[in-house]
């Protein structure tokens, strides 16, 4: 293998690597020759991309179709106040160019799909999974297995993180860990559950470390091990991860949305299903009906912390969506009930639970768009989150 040489500027820039026996000139030239694809430029992708760029990885691909939002900045340190509203791949490219202009950045401002994944992955040595949803995680895994590329995995929830290296030198992959995804609704998303802002920083840095070790072919990677991190207990644990011989070979990409039966990403709490046992009303229609004298009982099914951020003064009761069955007897059966949450996903579940508790479907109304939709479309003076 013939490696590229370093320029004088690069030698100065990477001097702390060059004097390490484990990196040295050969290792740094390997990094310069390396090609890494990062899926997602959010909480995990933020530290990952900055450190890979700073470390001198020669070519970095970035896949993301999202736009920087103010609520991202609590943890997505790659982006900044000045890039709110900018495409995340553009914001990332600007930051990377400032950190290290020697890096070639390939931008893919599109959703990763079964149609484009193999084409996008093909040029890269290592793929790093920094996504926020199950369908893309299974897609990234399967595409890496088909193409024989290592998949550096990290995932987070509230105060807990997981990291591993999949499909590396014949090691286990994501399906060996979890053969199937959870059904929709059983696992809350970060948008719903919240996340400590520093948590993805820790897990993303572990992913960056593993990526660099794979590129350098140095050290012991997390292949065959699942690392668990609990920020509250400040405890790391390690579990063994083995290939599951009962699983069939992965030979083609499938329809991952269908496989997971979930919304495409964390942002979308709502899901439309046919034959729902309740009515749907969007925020504009609800405003008009309320202005016209409609007097439903208003049930807010968010958590208490969310209600502290913003609430409707005219809400009758706050009860988290998982607990509405327990209070069903307290709710009026002779009035319409308007149920709302942040965006409309949890309130739909609450409506279903109330229908199962015997409430008439023509009395139950789900506020599609939720309180955030109301803030955006009707009352911009209300805080959003």
């Amino acid at each position: 293998m013939s490696l590229p040489d370093l320029t004088k500027e690069e030698i100065a820039r990477y001097s702390r690597h060059l004097i390490l026996d484990e990196v040295g000139m050969e290792g740094q030239c390997r990094l310069k020759d390396a090609k890494v694809l990062c899926i997602g430029t959010g909480g995990l992708g933020s530290p990952l991309l900055m450190y890979l760029a700073a470390a001198g990885v020669g070519r970095i691909g970035i896949v993301d179709f999202d736009v920087v939002d103010a609520s991202n900045l609590q943890r997505q340190v790659l982006h900044g106040t000045s890039t709110v509203g900018v495409a995340k791949v553009q914001s990332a490219a600007q930051r990377i160019a400032d950190i290290n202009p020697n890096v070639q950045v390939d931008l893919y401002e599109e959703a990763l799909t079964s149609e484009n994944a193999l084409r996008i992955f093909e040029p890269y040595d290592v793929v790093v999974d920094g996504t926020d949803n199950f369908p893309t995680r299974y897609l990234v895994n399967d595409a890496c297995v088909i193409l024989g590329k290592p998949n550096v995995y990290g995932s987070i929830f509230k105060f807990e993180g997981q990291a591993s290296v999949f499909n590396y030198k014949g090691g286990p992959n994501y399906r060996d860990l979890y053969p199937e995804p959870p059904p929709p609704g059983l696992v809350p998303s970060c948008a719903e559950g919240g996340v400590l802002g520093i948590l993805p920083g820790v897990i993303g840095c572990i992913q960056a470390t593993e990526t660099i070790k794979i590129l350098l072919e140095r050290g012991d990677t997390l292949s065959g091990r699942l690392l668990l991190y609990d920020a509250m207990a400040m405890r790391f644990r390690e579990l063994k991860l083995r290939k599951d011989p009962s699983l069939g070979a992965i030979t083609e990409l499938i329809d991952y949305q269908q496989f997971c039966g979930v919304p495409a990403n964390d942002h979308d709490e709502s899901q439309v299903t046919a034959d729902e046992p309740f009515q749907r009303i969007d925020v504009l229609a609800a405003r008009d009906r309320l202005a016209g004298g409609w007097k439903p009982y208003v049930l807010d099914v968010r958590g208490a912390n969310e209600a502290e951020i913003v609430k409707f003064a005219w809400a009758d009761r706050l009860q988290p969506h998982g607990e509405v069955r327990a209070i069903a007897d307290d709710l009026p059966r002779d009035r319409d009930i308007l149920v709302h949450c942040k965006m409309g996903g949890r309130s739909a579940k609450a409506c279903t639970a109330l229908a199962e508790a015997g409430f008439a479907s023509d009395r139950l109304f789900n506020l599609d768009g939720g309180i955030v939709g109301w803030a955006e479309q009707i009352d911009p003076s209300m805080p959003s989150y």
């Binding site: 997602g40 992708g45 995932s155 509230k158 105060f159 979890y178 959870p182 696992v187 964390d266 942002h267």
Partner: protein, 93 residues
């Protein structure tokens, strides 16, 4: 045998917020049964309608996945530590 079961963050709402629950049991299946008897709301998160452990919920005895031991028949010794590790997907948004 007294064994402890570590409860991951996503399942703590169903164990009154406890991060660890101690039960008396001689097998992994027995320990999980004691756990869900004490915390019935946890049951549907651990098992499907057929009563099988869900495929996105892994249970470890020490560092080992019980799928590669004797599954739920795996025998427990006093002081054993079980860990429930469900699949989580967050990362970007």
């Amino acid at each position: 045998m007294t064994v402890s079961i570590r409860i991951p963050t996503p399942l703590r709402p169903y164990t009154d917020g406890q991060s660890s629950v101690s039960v008396q049991a001689t097998t992994v299946g027995g320990a999980l049964a004691s756990l869900t008897t004490a915390h019935p709301d946890l049951s549907r998160h651990l098992r499907n309608d057929d009563g099988k452990l869900r495929s996105f919920v892994n249970v470890y005895l020490g560092e080992e996945d019980i799928r590669f031991l004797n599954a739920e028949d795996t025998a427990l010794t006093d002081g054993a530590e079980l860990t429930i590790v469900p699949s989580i997907a967050g990362g970007a948004a």
